[in-house]
């Protein structure tokens, strides 16, 4: 059997794929956080809860409305994103003129309310979302067995990340977003409806989280607390990558997933903390993050 540093190739590659899949979620979520932070200057503590809402919406949609996985992948981000726009319009906007710390507190409170409400109805144990039929089984790559659904998650997440990158870096709306991030007051003076732009941006960030939630539903137990545990790691990923660049968020997300996966192979005891160790190193050596721009 082929060995890599004393580990069978299949195990090694298996952890790399697992890491990439986890990393794809880190990338999707940190991307949404970065987009929201850029324009609203708010750290969206409800991001994990919104990811969880995405998974729950898919689950409940399947159980009660018969909405299948593919339809959920399209509808859930729209519905949860629209809900996010309502939150921005009627709650976040009211405190937009205050210190941004209040926005952080408000979104944190919202996250607790969403989680608590769902715990009240569904408990914490979590439910299973069936893997869609077309994505069951796996591919035998010769050196390892790759579950089809994980391969799909990786592809779908990457496509969504690139779509986001394209929207922000290559379209007119994206130019508004980038410019608004730098100087939203001047954008108003040019005739751009910045409050609307802010609502759309928050809705888009939330929709990304919900999309990740639907992708995650067949992979992890769908439970009210699934988001909060993930979000802590995602914050570390955002700190490591820095707030400056979209591609930076994607690359950092994937890389941290892989590092975490490899740590599971070589030193499992540290696999839950390795990302935080990287974060400490980055904060010591390059406080703006790997891809962050110097202020």
């Amino acid at each position: 059997m082929t060995m890599i540093f004393g580990v069978p190739l299949a195990v090694f590659m298996g952890q790399i794929t697992l890491g990439l899949v986890n990393g794809a979620f880190y990338a999707l979520l940190s991307l949404g956080l970065a987009v929201i932070f850029g324009l609203l200057k708010i750290i969206n503590f409800a991001h994990g809860a919104q990811y969880m809402l995405g998974a729950f919406a898919a689950l409940l949609g399947l159980e009660y409305l018969g909405i299948n996985y593919w339809l959920a992948l399209l509808l859930v981000p729209l519905v949860v994103g629209a809900f996010g726009m309502v939150l921005e319009r009627y709650l976040l906007r009211r405190i937009a003129h205050l210190d941004h710390l209040y926005g952080l507190l408000l979104t944190f409170g919202l996250a607790l309310i969403f989680e608590g409400t769902l715990v009240n109805f569904f408990g914490v144990s979590g439910a299973r979302y069936p893997t869609p039929e077309a994505l069951q089984g796996g591919l035998n790559l010769g050196f390892m067995f790759l579950p089809t659904y994980r391969a799909w998650v990786l592809v779908a997440a990457l496509v969504m990340c690139l779509f986001t990158w394209f929207m922000i870096e290559r379209t007119r709306l994206g130019a508004y977003l980038r410019a608004g991030t730098e100087n939203s007051q001047l954008m108003q003076a040019f005739g751009v409806n910045v409050p609307l732009l802010i609502t759309l941006t928050y809705g888009f960030g939330v929709a990304l989280a919900a999309f990740a939630g639907v992708l995650a539903a067949p992979l992890y137990p769908v439970s009210p607390t699934m988001g909060s545990s993930l979000l802590i790691v995602v914050f570390a990923v955002v700190v490591i990558g820095g707030m400056g660049s979209i591609l930076g968020a994607i690359i950092t997300g994937l890389a941290m997933g892989v590092i975490e996966g490899l740590t599971k192979v070589y030193y499992p005891e540290a696999s839950n903390t390795v990302i935080f160790l990287v974060m400490i190193l980055v904060l010591l050596l390059r406080p703006v993050g790997l891809f962050g721009k110097e202020a």
């Binding site: 007119r172 130019a175 108003q188 003076a189 005739g191 609307l196």
Partner: protein, 251 residues
């Protein structure tokens, strides 16, 4: 969804009365939080005029321009743009009356290249300058269109900040300290651009420190002090009032 929606036809009609006054500011008071910056500013600018706001630093000239764009805190009084009262308008509706604003710090966006910076402000009227015309007027911008906006020299950034609002079709330009810190050859180029814009019938309000730049271009000068207009001097009166003006401006 389009964040730069156009005005409806009725609104557009409302922006086209035959008034000769493109901008009329009356008893304008402006506040930043608790501080009272403008204390009853009165002035008007007629169609096709170039008017300067002169005064020392802190006299309220930049704040006057920002107040017109609804970029300060609270405002009272009256600001008529082409016959429309704008005091209660949302900030993003005001430019669509045909006003282009060039801020003192130029406001070039670092995350956008030169071309994107140029295309950024939504067009407010259909008869703005075309990209070809703009690149013909500022060939440097064409050569550097792929560069990051803030990599340009100060003079090029100023050209970009001007070109950006010319493309939108704005007919009233509010220009804040456009010659500040620029080399004489660039200042000369800006003077040529302003002459050309005047010939095209643009209405221009110029906040300037460089009086030698402004004097030959302007039809009228307003002098501000402590948030008020204290003096109005026409171009014809200028030679006889020059010494008086210099003493007021402290030059």
């Amino acid at each position: 969804m389009n964040t730069a929606e156009q005005l409806s036809p009725e609104q557009l009609d409302a922006t086209r009365p035959q008034s000769a006054e493109m901008l009329r500011v009356q008893d304008l008071h402006a506040f930043y939080g608790e501080s009272h910056i403008l204390h009853g500013v009165d002035f008007d600018v007629k169609r096709g005029e170039l008017v300067t706001l002169l005064g020392r630093n802190g006299s309220g000239r930049s704040t006057t321009l920002k107040s017109v764009m609804n970029m300060v805190g609270r405002r009272t009084g009256s600001i008529m743009v082409n016959g429309n009262e704008t005091l209660n308008m949302k900030p993003h509706h005001i430019p669509r009356l045909g006003i282009g604003y060039c801020p003192e710090e130029r406001g070039i966006f670092a995350s956008l290249d030169v071309h994107e910076n140029l295309l950024l402000p939504p067009t407010v009227r259909s008869d703005g300058m075309s990209l070809d015309e703009i690149y013909a007027m500022f060939p440097n911008l064409y050569e550097r269109r792929k560069s990051q906006g803030t990599r340009l020299s100060g003079g090029e950034q100023q050209m970009l900040a001007m070109a950006r609002i010319l493309r939108t079709g704005a007919r009233i330009l509010l220009l804040d300290e456009i010659t500040e810190g620029l080399a004489p050859v660039i200042v000369q180029k800006l003077a040529e651009v302003l002459m050309m814009l005047k010939e095209r019938g643009m209405t221009i309000v110029l906040v300037e420190q460089n009086f030698r730049f402004a004097a030959p271009l302007a039809d009228r000068h307003y002098v501000m002090e402590h948030g008020q207009i204290v003096e109005e001097i026409t171009a014809a009166q200028l030679p006889s009032r020059r010494e008086h003006l210099n003493s007021m401006l402290g030059v």
